[in-house]
């Protein structure tokens, strides 16, 4: 029997990759958060986006296949459904990021106010191209579409904070401050977003936010 090259058979050119190894990394607190958030909606599926945020935090800042599988299992969804969501939205990290993820807005207003000059400065100083991570793992540099704080162009998002009015002259000062900071990391961004869903957290804080 012959099979077409595209058919997903073992040993063929389109052989499916092995199913992700099952992991259970959600802490008791994370499970409680997921259940609380799921109770806000008439359907559990609606907790898919917040569930992925919890996973992104629990798995250290990025979504591995195992993380996606765990969200699917806990919400009673298929792996494909959750993967489809995870790959649609740009803020879910499908690959690990540096300790700080520098997301420079280069959309219209920032571009006319010189955002690309900021990007070029960062590329030269950090020695990475857009999309890359520095060798020491400290920074990942990205370009993003409009962050919507155009009055303060150029804007850069780092974790759960916006830094504004950046120019090639002042951006490196900020980078040095970030280098020594444990705030504004991808995991803290995910934590802040999870906590904002949960009633009462404005009293306790989350991410880099302290009430």
């Amino acid at each position: 029997m012959t099979t077409s090259p595209a058919s997903p058979v073992a040993g063929g050119p389109n052989e499916p990759q092995p199913a992700p190894e099952k992991e259970q990394r959600f802490s008791a607190q994370a499970i409680a958060e997921l259940e609380e958030i799921a109770s806000h909606y008439p359907e559990r599926k609606a907790a898919c986006l917040p569930g992925l945020w919890i996973a992104q935090r629990e798995y250290g800042g990025s979504l591995t296949p195992a993380a996606i599988q765990e969200v699917a299992d806990r919400l009673g969804l298929s792996y494909a459904e959750v993967e489809g969501v995870a790959t649609f939205y740009t803020m879910y990290n499908l690959r690990p990021r540096g300790k700080h993820h520098l997301e420079v807005c280069t959309c219209l207003t920032c571009a006319v106010k010189g955002a690309y000059d900021v990007v070029h400065k960062l590329e030269h100083e950090l020695g990475v191209e857009v999309g890359g991570t520095t060798a020491d793992g400290a920074f990942t540099l990205s370009e993003v579409e409009c962050l919507d704080f155009c009055g303060a162009a150029t804007v850069m998002q780092v974790g759960d904070k916006y830094f504004t009015n950046l120019t090639p002259d002042n951006v490196m000062e900020l980078i040095e401050t970030l280098r020594n900071s444990d705030d504004y990391t991808p995991a803290k961004l995910a934590d802040a977003i999870v906590k904002i869903h949960i009633p009462g957290t404005s009293r306790t804080g989350g991410g880099s936010y302290k009430p």
């Binding site: 219209l108 207003t109 010189g114 191209e129 162009a153 009633p199």
Partner: protein
């Protein structure tokens, strides 16, 4: 006609984000007045005010509020679209950061008027700082009894408010895509009226749904606190009240300005301190999706829905971008096309493929490889996207390019003929020496 601070009246009061300070400045008076009225009378106040949706489309708000079933038989939902993503717009950010209670109060009023028991505020994932303020406002409103069961002693008025954050998608600011996203799916839009029922008939979870922008709910609070007639005193005949304009670009004092609808465009530039770095070249008055207005046409435009439309542009969401004469319109349009290419959700072929072709051609022109027929090819592609997708993203990708070609055609022709920018030596086509070969625009 000029600055008109209705929503922004107490913006600069210290600690206005705390509920006690907000109450001292007339906060929750709108809700207290609303619950003394019949639910239909609340909708009628909105009708009298003439309020139109502030998210961009300008749809009369009261028609939505009036469209939901007027009983508690089946669940229905109130949604706030706080997925502000339009390039140039940052009004919702400031409203949520400083005046989150204005939004929360407006959503409670909407819940009362439409017999809803649950409301969701869908905030874009990047807006963590504004979202924390909304979280705080909701927590404080629960403590004061403005949310929960039997609100303010009204028997059977139970209402809960939840926050739902996005995760990075411009498309989710489109209402049907937002509802998909709220239900835990990819942010794809759905078939819309007249081919499918309106959200007020069948929206999120197939239930009747009211969906409005942040600024619209904030305006509803003001209207209930004062009156619809009071609101209707401001503005023009068909565009009532105030609008927050987010001024950015080559301008001395970029900020959010709340103006009376009908204010001349040039007056807003003056209020914001005038153009910097050169002479005025063009204005994009309503966010990246609307048509660019050349300087010579600017004095004819008043900032209201009708005047903008008469001048071949739109008021949109109020993202007011000012551009000086050192701006290269072709490079700007290439960047605009890149934005829509990135944000197209991929559902409809004309938009998914067309935005890519648009970008490729503009990239070719601005890399020095433009060909004589490229302008007509661009127009042809735009014509094949406009009106051929489920949601407005395809239209919004085509409109600015078509308008730019119509109004700045010589610049496109210059690029194709001379293979460089018509604007000046500061604008270079990408070269291998530039580490990351992208457009370089001279900062003001």
């Amino acid at each position: 006609m000029a600055i008109l601070n209705l929503l922004f009246e107490h913006r600069d009061v210290p600690n206005i984000e705390e509920i006690d300070v907000y109450e001292q400045h007339g906060g929750y008076a709108g809700l207290r007045r609303a619950i003394l009225l019949e639910r239909q009378a609340v909708v009628d106040e909105i009708k009298t005010s003439g309020l139109r949706g502030r998210g961009g489309a300008g749809f009369p708000t009261w028609i939505k509020w009036n469209g939901l079933p007027k009983n508690y038989d089946k669940p229905h939902y109130v949604i706030c679209n706080a997925d502000e993503g339009e390039p140039g717009t940052y009004k919702d950010r400031e409203l949520m950061l400083k005046l989150a209670h204005l939004l929360v109060e407006g959503m409670i009023i909407a819940g009362y008027a439409t017999y809803s028991k649950k409301g969701y505020i869908y905030i874009r994932g990047e807006y963590v700082e504004p979202a924390w303020q909304v979280r705080k406002a909701i927590d404080q409103a629960y403590e004061k009894g403005y949310l929960g069961k039997n609100i303010l002693g009204v028997e059977g008025f139970d209402y809960d408010l939840y926050i739902h954050l996005g995760a990075g998608s411009y498309e989710c600011g489109e209402e049907s895509a937002l509802m998909s996203s709220l239900m835990g799916e990819r942010g794809n839009p759905r078939l819309k009226a007249p081919h499918a029922p309106l959200p007020v008939v069948e929206g999120v979870w197939k239930a009747p749904t009211l969906i409005n922008n942040v600024e619209t709910y904030c305006a509803a609070t003001w209207i209930l606190a004062h009156s619809g007639a009071e609101y209707a005193k401001y503005g023009t005949e068909k565009s009532k009240g105030s609008k927050i304009m987010s001024v950015s670009g080559h301008i001395a004092r970029p900020a959010n300005y709340e103006i009376e609808l009908g204010t001349p465009l040039m007056e807003l530039i003056e209020i914001a301190g005038g153009v910097t770095g050169g002479q005025l070249k063009a204005v994009i008055p309503g966010g990246s999706s609307v048509q660019i207005v050349p300087a010579e046409q600017c004095p004819n435009v008043n900032l209201d829905y009708e005047s903008c439309q008469a001048n071949g542009t739109l008021l949109g969401s109020g993202g007011f971008m000012v551009l000086n004469d050192k701006t290269d319109i072709v490079l700007l349009m290439k960047r605009t096309a890149e934005f829509y290419m990135h944000e197209s959700c991929g559902k409809c072929t004309p938009c998914r493929e067309g935005t890519r072709w648009m970008y490729k051609i503009l990239d070719r022109i601005t890399s020095g490889g433009g060909q004589p027929g490229d302008i007509d090819l661009l127009l042809d592609i735009c014509g094949q996207i406009d009106g051929r997708s489920y949601c407005g993203l395809g239209d919004a990708a085509a409109w600015p390019i078509v308008a730019a070609i119509k109004r700045f055609r010589p610049e496109f022709e210059y690029w194709i003929e001379h293979k460089r920018s018509p604007v000046g030596p500061g604008h270079v086509p990408p070269t291998p020496e530039v580490l990351n070969p992208l457009l370089t625009l001279t900062p003001a």
